[in-house]
């Protein structure tokens, strides 16, 4: 539970802010003022809170989630079976490719799974082949989406007490 201690506490206003920032951020000249009005607090408070949430690593970024296909990009999931003693080295090397966005060791015989968003089919294939050829990789399969039913990465944030008592 030691890790729990380092988790930032989130009060009711933080939770409200995080939910609003994910769902209905205004595309207008002063979006933080609009948000402040919605929540009934001064804009300066919103700005301070958002900055603190970024510093704490809770907010990774404020920006667009772009549709890869409309940007001319291709996406790919790859499953690999890697010798257990090599999975760390392979995981690190795979992460170095710019096109790789998510890369997880998973609890399965296929133990390394990563996703790519690449500017062309050729780049996706190049990265796939390089990853599959790394020492310790016993099998690798490209798993393109045949059909997308849903992508909606938004999290319902609840208030949380800091376990460290801060």
């Amino acid at each position: 539970m030691a890790e729990e201690l380092s988790r930032p506490a989130l009060d009711a206003l933080d939770a409200q802010l995080l939910n609003a920032l994910q769902a209905d951020f205004s595309i207008e000249p002063a979006p933080f003022a609009a948000l402040a009005e919605k929540l009934g607090v001064p804009e300066s408070v919103v700005i301070r809170r958002v900055e603190a949430l970024k510093e704490a690593g809770v907010i990774r970024k404020i920006g667009p989630v772009l549709e890869p296909g409309r940007m001319g990009f291709v996406t790919l999931l790859v499953a690999m079976k890697v010798a257990p003693d090599q999975v760390e080295a392979v995981g690190r090397q795979v992460s170095e490719f710019q096109a790789v966005t998510h890369n997880y060791q998973r609890d399965h015989a296929y133990n390394l799974w990563f996703t790519m968003v690449a500017p062309s089919q050729e780049e996706a294939e190049r990265v796939f082949k390089k990853a599959a050829a790394l020492p310790g990789v016993e099998a690798a399969y490209p798993l393109p989406a045949l059909r997308r039913f849903k992508v909606s990465v938004r999290f319902a944030v609840k208030e949380r007490k800091g376990a460290g008592g801060a």
Binding site: P8, L21, L77, P119, P144, A145, F149, K150
Partner: protein, 163 residues
């Protein structure tokens, strides 16, 4: 091939982390040599057309208490995939739902992601989903270690586009 929705300069501006300030889009625009109105219009038209899925905060799910990241893979008969995919996608606890090809030793063709506070909580959600979707063959694959989680980068790839 279709023209990319944004030109390179606009794309590079949009991809930057929005400054936390009174007029953040003006700041973004100025730094890229664009106008504030131009940037706002580009985002609005991107949202309208679906080139932008959403605009707002991207959160670190571990930091907000979603510790367990479960990939649930389902073996769905081909004739049921449409129905099963739609049903799982409609569930708010499912963030991703894709049909993908099977491969040796892996007969699963429908992939969903669920994020929860703990593995136990994730397993409760999975049991509920399995009952509702009425698929008996499935596997739950948890992440053990995050090597990388980054936003995709769309601008700044050498030689990709003339713009």
């Amino acid at each position: 091939m279709a023209q990319p929705f944004f030109d390179e300069r606009m794309l590079a501006a949009l991809e930057r982390d929005l400054p936390v300030t009174h007029r953040p889009f003006r700041r973004l625009a100025e730094e890229a040599g664009l106008g504030e109105t131009e940037v706002l219009q580009a985002i609005r038209s991107g949202l309208r057309s679906g080139a932008i899925r959403r605009y707002g905060a991207l959160l670190a799910h571990r930091e907000i208490g979603f510790e367990a990241n479960a990939m649930i893979v389902w073996q769905v008969p081909e004739e049921r995939i449409e129905e099963a995919g739609a049903l799982l996608a409609a569930d708010a606890r499912v963030t991703h739902c894709y049909q993908r090809p099977t491969f040796p030793g892996f007969p699963y063709n429908l992939y969903t992601m669920v994020h929860a506070a703990t593995r136990d909580e994730a397993m409760t959600i999975v049991a509920d989903l399995a009952k509702r979707v009425n698929v008996e063959q499935f596997d739950v694959i948890f992440s053990l270690r995050e090597f990388k989680k980054a936003s995709p980068t769309y601008s700044g790839w050498e030689g990709r586009r003339g713009a």
